[in-house]
């Protein structure tokens, strides 16, 4: 148990240390060492508890009161900040939260004891690994990145200590979320992640940053309120506040269902599902490591973690239907919206929203097979997405833009980085990589579940997904470029982080049957009391072999090609008027540079319109089902 506590506390300690350090070199060292420690600890925890779920009786009034007080103080702080920035809605929501929280603490919580405040099981282990490894790698990356960032923004005050403090605190809070059994603890960490991301998004203090940080805050406050309400219901009606007890309840019971729905809404907000997806888009203004962190291993993953955790309670009932529909619609609409984007980070954001939508839908379907797919998606997504973000961040600092259109010929300018990006993108949507494999399982389980809406969302959504990824990929592989190589100035921390993630991306594809056997299936068997492997078609050995062969082919085949070609090199065809491969003689005399802009089809896939449609549909679904559940229609 001490290792668990260490895991929880250490990042926070490191964070406090960071706050004190002003020297870049020391900071680098501390950051790297702490990251290493976190990684090692996570690995150790995983090794130790894998297959042996355990709960820890841990009870300390001091800690409880400390948490309550912290929460209270932070609540006041939010009200003040909202007031200061004239974001009164934030203040109001903050006040509501505070009132509810006080009410809960004073009237409802009394007498409810949760013995096992902490626990660890296989799902937690997976999450711990994701947070520990990926989160730490991102922190390492941030060291190099922030150095450049500061260079690019020389006028800004160096607030890096604060930045790293937040990053590491975030890790602690995340560990808290995945390891807490006591819902009050969970709530505490839940709110901390909200605040951390609020501050991180607003880091640059530009108007846009502040606006977006408040949007994040307001939406997540809503989620927080839903969470609180759920706790109040549970405390009031059933008198317990622990996750494990909740999981043993009957999902069809009226107030349990309402509570689960509320928790699910909290999860939906955190995982940036429609109608709450805009906060994640706004989070793009933060420095790239923040985005990477929010998108891959933390924050949004907290949301899906909660939903996956609760999935046994959602199987086949209205709550599940709500969650699944919201996830499915989000997947489809966010994928469509991604087509109209040329800002790389925005494309990644939409893709995150879409992928989370898929995970959420899996959780909502709630069958073991679906949840299997959901967990697998979570793992693959975390690795690949963080890698993509880091790559984009590095590229941005070296080519001066995060626009996909500026990545023309990146293959010539930053070959290694482009290679990794290609791997990342391919990993996001193509066979034989993880995301696709999980999507496959998801499709199977949706079909099995017979949910027409989900099937539709998935088949259309996948088609759309290929479009926006492929066109980005195209930009990267294009070799026509005038610019020289500009890769040598990339910091080694960046290479370490990005490189490790790249290795992980491939490794996890090779190892996923192992991961599935060692962690996912045991957990599913525990949580659902059974799991039939046949339902995941790709666990069939035939398919697995094929996938492996494809992977090997893809990794080995390029080797002989990217050398000098023995063929005669002839410049591109330019209708006979070419000057070289990239320019031609134009109408007005003179040389015209050819340029290619990808298709964005904004008439078809207008972001705002799609967002509106999504918001309306999902709000209707959620409100209607929640109201119906509260009225006891499904009981």
């Amino acid at each position: 148990m001490n290792d668990i506590l260490f895991l929880l506390a250490f990042p926070f300690v490191a964070a406090c240390l960071m706050l004190a350090i002003r020297d870049d070199r020391i900071r680098t060292a501390v950051a790297e060492v702490s990251a290493a420690i976190v990684i090692v600890t996570s690995a150790w925890v995983a090794y130790r508890y894998l297959g042996q779920p355990e709960s820890f009786a841990f009870h300390s009034e001091t800690i409880d009161s400390l948490m309550a007080v912290t929460e209270f103080v932070l609540g006041l702080a939010i009200i003040y900040i909202g007031y200061k920035h004239k974001k009164y809605l934030a203040s109001v929501l903050g006040a509501i939260t505070l009132v509810l929280f006080l009410g809960f603490e004073v009237f409802l919580k009394e007498g409810i004891e949760t013995d096992n405040a902490l626990y660890i099981d296989d799902l937690s282990i997976i999450m711990v690994l994701i947070i520990g490894i990926i989160g730490s790698l991102i922190c390492v990356y941030a060291v190099g990145y922030m150095r450049d960032f500061q260079k690019h923004h020389p006028d800004d005050k160096d607030r890096r200590p604060w930045f790293f403090f937040l990053m590491y605190t975030f890790l602690s809070a995340m560990f808290g979320i995945v390891l807490s059994n006591d819902m009050t603890w969970l709530f505490f960490f839940w709110e901390i992640t909200m605040l951390c991301s609020f501050t991180l998004i607003g880091y640059t203090k530009t108007d846009e940053a502040i606006r977006n940080s408040f949007r994040q805050l307001i939406m997540n406050q809503t989620g927080g309120i839903a969470f609180l309400l759920a706790m109040m219901i549970l405390a009031d009606r059933y008198g317990f506040l622990s996750i494990d007890t909740l999981l043993m309840q009957d999902g069809e019971a009226q107030w349990i269902m309402v509570a689960v729905m509320l928790l699910a809404i909290a999860g939906i907000v955190k995982s940036a599902q429609m109608p709450f997806h805009t906060w994640l888009l706004g989070a793009m203004v933060a420095p790239t490591p923040t985005s990477a962190l929010l998108h891959s291993s933390t924050m949004v993953k907290a949301g899906v973690f909660l939903l996956l955790k609760l999935s046994p309670l959602m199987m086949g009932n209205a709550c599940g239907y709500m969650v699944a529909t919201v996830g499915g619609l989000t997947f489809l609409l966010a994928s469509m919206a991604a087509i109209s984007q040329s800002n790389a980070k925005r494309v990644l954001a939409y893709s995150t929203i879409a992928n989370l939508g898929l995970i959420v839908a899996c959780a909502g379907v709630g069958t073991p097979e679906a949840v299997w797919a959901g967990i697998m998606l979570t793992i693959f997504h975390a690795i690949t997405k963080s890698m993509m973000f880091l790559c984009v961040g590095t590229a941005e600092h070296h080519i001066g833009s995060r626009d996909i259109e500026s990545m023309d010929g990146l293959f010539e300018r930053m070959p290694r980085l482009a290679g990794i990006m290609i791997l990342g993108i391919v990993g996001m949507f193509l066979a034989p990589f993880g995301m696709l494999i999980s999507k496959w399982a998801a499709l199977t389980s949706f079909v099995e579940d017979g949910n027409l809406v989900l099937i539709g969302c998935l088949v259309f959504g996948s088609a759309v997904t290929s479009f926006y990824w492929t066109k980005w990929l195209g930009k990267l592989v294009c070799t026509a470029s005038r610019e020289g190589n500009c890769e040598d100035t990339v910091h080694c921390q960046e290479w370490v982080a990005v490189g490790s993630l790249a290795v992980l991306t491939v490794a996890i594809c090779l190892m996923y049957p192992g991961v599935s056997d060692a962690a996912v299936i045991p957990w599913l068997e525990g949580a659902f009391g059974g799991f039939s492997e046949d339902l995941v078609p790709l666990l069939e050995s035939n398919n697995m072999w094929i996938v492996l062969i494809m992977l090997v082919v893809l990794i080995l085949l390029p080797l002989p090609f990217f050398r000098r070609t023995s063929k005669r090199v002839v410049p591109n065809y330019m209708a006979g008027e070419g000057v070289d491969s990239m320019s031609y003689r134009g109408s007005m005399g003179g040389t015209v540079e050819v340029s290619m802009r990808n298709w964005y089809m904004s008439g078809w896939f207008d972001e705002d319109r799609l967002g509106k449609i999504g918001e309306v549909l999902t709000v209707i679904v959620m409100a209607a089902l929640l109201a119906a559940a509260a009225l006891g229609v499904f009981a």
Partner: protein, 288 residues
């Protein structure tokens, strides 16, 4: 199917498909010519073409393009082999997408404006047809409880009966998949095109030959998919399937010759409407 049978089928596909595909392409050109009141080239013309491309001087705009085209060829072959070996239909479909992506990347890699525009078009045409192909697999699963081609082909009853909607939708998107008029937006086999040779603009010599050979494999596999709708585990089923596939081929030639190239908006819209109505409709019916 036993493993041995599967392997035999896969090998047979790899060995025979080019010949069959080449003949199909030859028939296509001959029949098209006759539909235009011409004599047309010899049936073996596609083979001559490929032979010529193999023996020409090899030129290329860059060193990487070939890699993508080789991958396209390999994965197309792989897709077909897996299909005929009776493996998982979804895996087949995903590999097909992978192959497709490689072709698109090959078109992108040169940086030629025409091939890049061709690639864009290929992508949105793919966006139009992919849902149908996925839904086809879904329908098979709903009907037979399995994605495995060998299970589907050996189950009794022709799938075309319960899957009639998806079958028609599949025939519809076959035009897109085979890049035939009215949807030969990205790469047109014979007709002149507004973007020169579309995706293939920068392909020449061996690269182009590989593209052609991949098309042969691809057509055989797609016709195999048509035949699958008719297979019912008996010889009669296979025969009917083959006849149906050939008829589908003739139908495609006819459509190819009877239509102008439509607007891209129409391609996308019609593809999706067909998917929604016929494809999703069929799924709904099977679910009930």
């Amino acid at each position: 199917m036993t493993t041995i049978e599967s392997i035999l089928m896969a090998v047979a596909f790899i060995a025979l498909a080019p010949a069959i595909g080449c003949l199909l392409a030859g028939v296509d050109r001959k029949v098209s010519a006759r539909m235009q009141k011409r004599r047309g080239p010899p049936i073996l013309q596609p083979a001559y073409d490929v032979g010529k491309f193999l023996s020409k001087e090899q030129i290329t705009p860059n060193s990487t393009q070939d890699f993508y085209v080789v991958c396209f060829l390999l994965f197309t072959i792989g897709t077909g082999a897996m299909f005929f070996a009776g493996m998982d239909l979804l895996l087949v479909i995903f590999t097909l997408t992978l192959a497709e992506t490689f072709l698109i990347l090959g078109a992108y890699s040169s940086g030629s404006p025409y091939s890049q525009i061709g690639a864009q078009r290929e992508m949105y045409v793919a966006m139009a047809y992919e849902p149908v192909i996925l839904l086809m697999a879904v329908c098979y699963y709903l009907e037979y409880g399995s994605f495995s081609v060998s299970d589907i082909s050996s189950s009794d009853g022709m799938a075309v009966v319960p899957l009639i909607g998806v079958f028609l939708a599949f025939l519809f998107v076959l035009t897109m998949k085979l890049r035939k008029s009215p949807f030969d937006l990205s790469l047109s086999h014979h007709a002149h095109q507004d973007i020169v040779r579309g995706m293939a603009t920068e392909f020449s010599g061996r690269t182009y030959a590989m593209l052609e050979i991949s098309h042969w494999y691809e057509s055989v596999m797609l016709l195999g998919m048509v035949a699958l709708f008719f297979a019912n585990g008996t010889v009669a089923g296979i025969v009917i399937g083959i006849i149906a596939a050939l008829l589908a081929w003739i139908l495609e030639i006819w459509i190819d010759n009877g239509f102008a190239r439509m607007k891209w908006q129409t391609a996308l819209k019609s593809g999706w409407v067909v998917t929604l109505v016929l494809g999703m409709g069929n799924v709904a019916v099977l679910l009930i």
